[in-house]
């Protein structure tokens, strides 16, 4: 059965925990992780992540609000869906409207009027995925702005400066991002550079008492490189760690191996953020592998194409088969969309108004944030995660993801 362990100032007595606790307290970071429950079979844990704006229950799925907005959803609606932390994008916001304006607006919280937590990424991933890459040097990443063609250098210092202006509760280091399908010396180079850039980011952070800087573990699909990176980065006193460089098209078996290797060597008392992982199956497995935080554009992006996420997969509302289907998207779902509207109405509405997209977005966020993850959190707290996952996969009807993977854990 699950063991309940409190990792807080007044409970820890073992020497090992005492040491790491001291380390956490001495840095006086604006982040505290309280482990509420741990599974005795898998590496899953349920925690309270205390951040400046509010406490976040983990495992947590963080919706992505790229440009300071969550695709047609108001901040009130987002709060109503139980979202305690969401993402903003340094690259996009750094371009428009720019850090100076956002500072004038009292940070990104003030600008979008979001009272809970914000996490900003460094801009590194967009540099690679979105723009014509000019050059990656030790200095930083040089690229051409898509808006005025000017050459811009995104250095670790510049990224942190923008994130300081945005005022997010969690900031990500600028890392040297390399696709997980790339092999060879470039992977090693990127891993070592990411460590050096981490140090530069730490030095550049103007607000260590208000903003938490997370490190990002790199190393591609190479176990040795990952291990080296883990050994080095965990020597730095950062409040949390992200597992980066994955979820980019690699084989699932390789993916999970790297995730579990990472969580094996990351400190227990600090949060683990698996970047860019969002499909329900991956979320559930990676919770079992010891990850606490997840983000992905998939739920909100797919909603705009009429794709609703459900426990048994997804439902393409715009397809003809739903034109006369009078059930809600998910009869068991308690979100505002499912409480009021049928698949048939939404199917028809897609032909008349953009609000149809908003209905699906609301449902998908509700599904990811409250249903998917909270469910697994409750299960961790109450019973053995192993049995929960078996149940989950039967529902999901995915034969390829089976107990075999879980037993590897």
């Amino acid at each position: 059965m699950a063991a309940v362990i409190e990792c807080g100032a007044d409970i820890d007595t073992t020497p090992e925990n005492h040491m790491s606790l001291k380390k956490t307290l001495s840095s006086a970071s604006p982040l505290t992780l309280r482990i509420v429950a741990e599974c005795s079979v898998t590496k899953a844990r349920a925690c309270d992540l205390v951040l400046p704006h509010c406490t976040v229950s983990t495992p947590v799925f963080m919706p992505v609000g790229t440009q300071g907005t969550l695709k047609g959803i108001t901040v009130d609606q987002l709060e109503g869906l139980g979202c305690q932390i969401c993402l903003g994008n340094t690259y996009h916001l750094g371009m428009r409207p720019g850090p100076d304006l956002i500072e004038k607006a009292n940070g990104l919280h003030g600008f979008m009027n979001w009272k809970r937590n914000l996490l900003t990424d460094s801009g590194g991933f967009q540099m690679v995925s979105l723009v014509e890459l000019s050059e990656v040097t030790e200095e930083g990443v040089k690229f051409k702005s898509p808006y005025d063609g000017k050459e811009i250098l995104l250095s670790p210092e510049k990224s942190i400066s923008i994130q300081n202006s945005l005022g997010s509760d969690i900031m990500m280091q600028l890392d040297d991002v390399v696709s997980s399908t790339v092999t060879g010396p470039r992977v090693e180079e990127a891993m070592h550079r990411s460590i050096r850039w981490l140090d530069r980011c730490i030095a550049a952070n103007k607000n260590p008492d208000k903003q938490n800087l997370f490190a990002i573990i790199q190393g591609g699909l190479n176990a040795d490189l990952r291990k080296t990176c883990l050994d080095e980065m965990t020597k730095r006193d950062v409040p949390g760690f992200a597992i980066g460089g994955l979820s980019g098209g690699e084989e699932k078996d390789d993916f999970w191996r790297m995730v579990t290797l990472s969580t094996d060597h990351l400190p227990r008392e600090k949060p683990r953020y698996l970047m860019g992982v969002g499909y329900a199956v991956d979320l559930v497995v990676c919770v079992a592998l010891g990850c606490d935080m997840f983000d992905c554009v998939f739920p909100t992006r797919t909603a705009r194409f009429g794709s609703a996420l459900v426990p048994w997969g997804s439902l393409q509302v715009k397809h003809k088969q739903y034109a006369k289907d009078l059930q809600p998207i998910d009869p068991d779902c308690k979100c505002p969309t499912c409480k009021r509207h049928s698949r048939a109405y939404l199917h028809a509405l897609f032909k008349s108004d953009t609000a149809a997209m908003h209905h699906i977005t609301i449902h998908n966020i509700a599904y990811q944030v409250s249903a998917g993850i909270a469910y697994s959190r409750v299960k961790v707290v109450i019973m053995c995660v192993f049995f929960f996952f078996t149940e989950f996969f039967i529902c999901f009807k995915r034969a390829d993801v089976s107990e075999k993977h879980l037993l590897q854990v």
Partner: protein, 417 residues
């Protein structure tokens, strides 16, 4: 149909024309009412554009009548037929009355497709031709509280011939008679009311003829068609409305189709109109603008001083003078709004309208709306629709108050800035 239950109860009639009161006897049970002059809630297929129920219900004092159009509904006939329980239930609409119109006032459709027996609407998949039989079949499955009868209103183009105008009057009367026959024999439409449609283009004699003839039929009220914004200037419109209302019974409501600009609304209320469609806030939203025209005429010493000292007034951007008669170009900005895409709002941290209590103004600033528009974010439409709807309905509230206190002229001055 034995006399309709819908009845206008007046609290004031000014100069025998402008009417203030309550339209009673609405709904299947005849218990609902709405204040007049008033506007209907404009929707696409039962949804206020951009808004879900949560965002819609941040607005208070919503109109009690929701408008839906056959141009949105016609293509879904099959599914509604199978559903059987009416459009209101299908759309998840609670606590609202339903009015069904033929066309979408914000979506002018191609002309040249009406015949003696048919009119056409345009759905997402293209043109759908309606005979009276099909039109009435749709009303039976929609089950509105009231609907306009089928009409031929293609008279708004410049240079519509007299012959064509006469035809539109004749056809519309024939359609009305045929609709009424089906209506009276349909159990599904028991308790549902019909509005007759007055046509006649810009020809006075045809307008009078249409009004007189339509008034002879057992209808609960009247729609005035072919007078849309862009089809003629306000002077002519006022003239025609005045002539028409002389022929209509006093106690039956008059709905003016296709007119939504605040100045035109005021002029048409003065001429004797009661009900309007609220598509104007939607049009303003689609061009990334926010309604900001002043309709506050209550005496406020502070404001008087501010204005004396040339207090900050938003000047709306470049606007189109009213002389432009172009029904197709209702996308032009008016003097009643500000264009939030304009650079000047980039670092303007004030709400859209100072003192506006809507969700958008209570929570967000112009700079944020500007950012959302520049980055093409969906939330822009949501927030603007909330504000524009609130502002427009606030205007109607002010209009009723002005009529109650005999201050319509003062309101007209204020609104025209």
């Amino acid at each position: 149909m034995a006399g309709s239950r819908m009845k206008l109860e007046f609290s004031r009639v000014i100069q025998g024309r402008s009417r203030l009161g309550v339209l009673k006897g609405l709904g299947r049970n005849g218990q609902d009412s709405m204040e007049v002059p008033g506007c209907l809630l404009y929707t696409h297929f039962g949804t206020v554009p951009h808004l879900t129920q949560d965002t819609l219900h941040t607005l208070s004092n919503l109109p009690s009548v929701t408008q839906v159009t056959l141009s949105n509904i016609a293509e879904h006939q099959e599914v509604l037929e199978e559903f059987k329980d009416g459009f209101r239930k299908f759309a998840g609409l609670h606590d609202t009355l339903l009015y069904c119109s033929l066309h979408d006032p914000a979506a002018p459709c191609p002309t040249g497709y009406t015949t003696n027996k048919t009119v056409s609407v345009w759905g997402s998949g293209g043109r759908i031709e309606l005979t009276v039989a099909k039109f009435m079949a749709l009303q039976k499955i929609v089950q509105p509280d009231w609907y306009q009868s089928m009409a031929d209103g293609e008279t708004w183009q410049n240079n519509t011939s007299r012959k064509r105008v006469r035809k539109s009057v004749d056809r519309t009367l024939t359609h009305l008679d045929e609709c009424l026959v089906v209506h009276q024999n349909s159990q599904e439409l028991d308790g549902v009311e019909v509005f007759g449609v007055v046509e006649g283009g810009d020809i006075l004699e045809e307008r009078v003829r249409s009004a007189r003839e339509t008034a002879k039929r057992p209808v609960a009220g009247f729609c005035l068609d072919g007078l849309q914004t862009g089809s003629m200037d306000q002077t002519l419109r006022t003239q025609l409305i005045a002539a028409v209302t002389k022929e209509l019974p006093e106690d039956k409501p008059r709905l003016l189709q296709g007119v939504g600009r605040p100045d035109e609304v005021l002029a048409c209320v003065e001429a004797g109109m009661d009900l309007f469609e609220s598509f104007f806030p939607f049009q303003v939203t689609e061009r990334g603008c926010a309604l900001c025209f002043d309709f506050n005429i209550s005496p406020d010493p502070e404001r008087a001083v501010l204005e004396l000292n040339g207090g900050e007034r938003d000047t709306a951007g470049e606007t189109q003078p009213n002389g432009d008669h172009n029904l197709d170009d209702q996308t032009q900005m008016t003097s009643f709004e500000i264009d939030l895409k304009d650079k000047r709002y980039q670092d303007d941290f004030r709400p859209l309208v100072e003192g506006c209590g809507c969700y958008c103004c209570k929570n967000h600033q112009r700079a944020y709306l500007h950012h959302l528009l520049v980055t093409n974010e969906l939330l822009a439409g949501v927030l603007l629709m909330i504000h524009n709807t609130a502002h427009y309905h606030g205007f109607f509230g002010a209009l009723r108050e002005a009529l109650a206190n005999d201050q319509l002229d003062l309101l007209k001055d204020r609104v025209s800035g």
